[in-house]
Symmetry: C2
Subunit: 212 residues, 2 copies
DNA sequence: AGAGAAATTATAAGATCGTATAATATTGAA
DNA sequence: TTCAATATTATACGATCTTATAATTTCTCT
């Protein structure tokens, strides 16, 4: 029989692989941030949310900032994958793919106040932490690159000119983020469908040579 | 002689009008937020920054959230006034006025990481506080209304159509905010001048009927 | 000059925070 | 089955936080 198992023979805690536990803690951190914003970034709250004791966070991450940065990474990665999957599931024409990208951007999966709440906390940290800043740069460049690919394909297919494709992708990204931000802060200002239409209008400007 | 003045005859503190003191505390709060982000939102830090004791904040604002909301109001008001002044100082044609608006938006006064740092803290609170949310709605609607006026004047002057002027102003506002956010989080991604150019491109799309 | 109103300080209480340390339980492998 | 590695808990410490209350100081007004 096992040497030191609790009286009833039932283990008092589960021993997880570091990888699994780190992910559990990261997801618990995200839930705490959703619930309480910046106030949710706390060793004690996150440990309670994950159902473990505080020491475990120190053990796996050292300082709490490292956990938050990790949480940012898994969330950013997940969202980008969702976006790209929606694009890949669309019919393989540049028009349909860009349309799918716009539509999923304004779907409840992304157009969600809870999601913005997490990002706002991250942004606040990015401005004061080198570690968070490099994570954000990585995430941002991947996102812009995806947009750039969509726009370049459309321009090639339809034969219109874009002077600086990277900058143009930056602008479209900014429009998406700006609409997302505005709607989440004030959902009465416009409807998600209207936001998607404004993006299609932007693309129409692109077609008409406004960025040539 | 005065009854209870300190030995040297020098007053140990100044008695200010509530209005003045509230403003001093609000400005101290902004400096703390610039320096430390969310961590700067603290009765003790703000009181120290303003050179007073903690109790004074309770006395003038009750709870600290009220002070932060007040700080948001004075900052938003100041920025909007600066924007509008730049517009009024421009030559009185719709083109020059819109240009002035774009240029000042990308000037160091607004295109500033410190300014965004304050804003990000506010956004985080807006998502979790009714009081902050109503302040933000007020600020946002004033801002969009200003943009709407500029765009409407341009459209009338040049004779092009805009289907929904309010929504179009929302889009332009979102583009400005999105570029501001992206640059502040990652100043290497583009130069302020390039951001201004992207806004002018957006206006060019407007001229070409993309929002008709 | 003096008194009263109110701005300000001074002080304290209790909660929560991050991190360090030592003790303990679980699990894979010998 | 036993052992050893280490994941996990348990506990403690000092700092900082918000808020409440009472004492003190300033300043205006008569």
């Amino acid at each position: 029989m096992a040497r030191k198992v609790a009286a009833k023979g039932r283990a008092r805690f589960r021993r997880e692989t570091p990888e699994d536990r780190r992910r559990q803690l990261g997801e618990a951190a995200l839930r705490c941030i959703v619930k309480h914003g910046n106030a949710g970034v706390s060793v004690r709250q996150i440990a309670a949310e994950a159902g473990v004791t505080q020491g475990l966070i120190t053990h796996h991450f050292g300082e709490i900032n490292e956990l938050v940065a990790y949480a940012f990474d898994i969330m950013a990665e997940g969202l980008l994958q969702s976006l790209l999957k929606a694009v890949e599931d669309a019919e393989p024409t540049p028009q349909k793919r860009l349309d799918a990208f716009i539509n999923v951007s304004f779907s409840p999966m992304l157009f969600d106040r809870d999601v913005l709440g997490v990002w706002v906390v991250f942004w606040g940290l990015v401005l004061h932490s080198q570690r968070m800043s490099s994570s954000q740069q990585n995430e941002y460049s991947g996102y812009v690159a995806a947009v750039e690919g969509l726009l370049a394909d459309l321009a090639a297919d339809e034969g219109f000119a874009i002077a600086d494709i990277r900058l143009t992708a930056v602008a479209f990204t900014a429009l998406l983020d700006g609409l997302w931000l505005a709607w989440c802060l004030n959902p009465a200002s416009f409807k998600p469908d209207e936001g998607a239409q404004l993006c299609r209008n932007w693309v129409e400007g692109l077609r008409r040579g406004a960025y040539a």
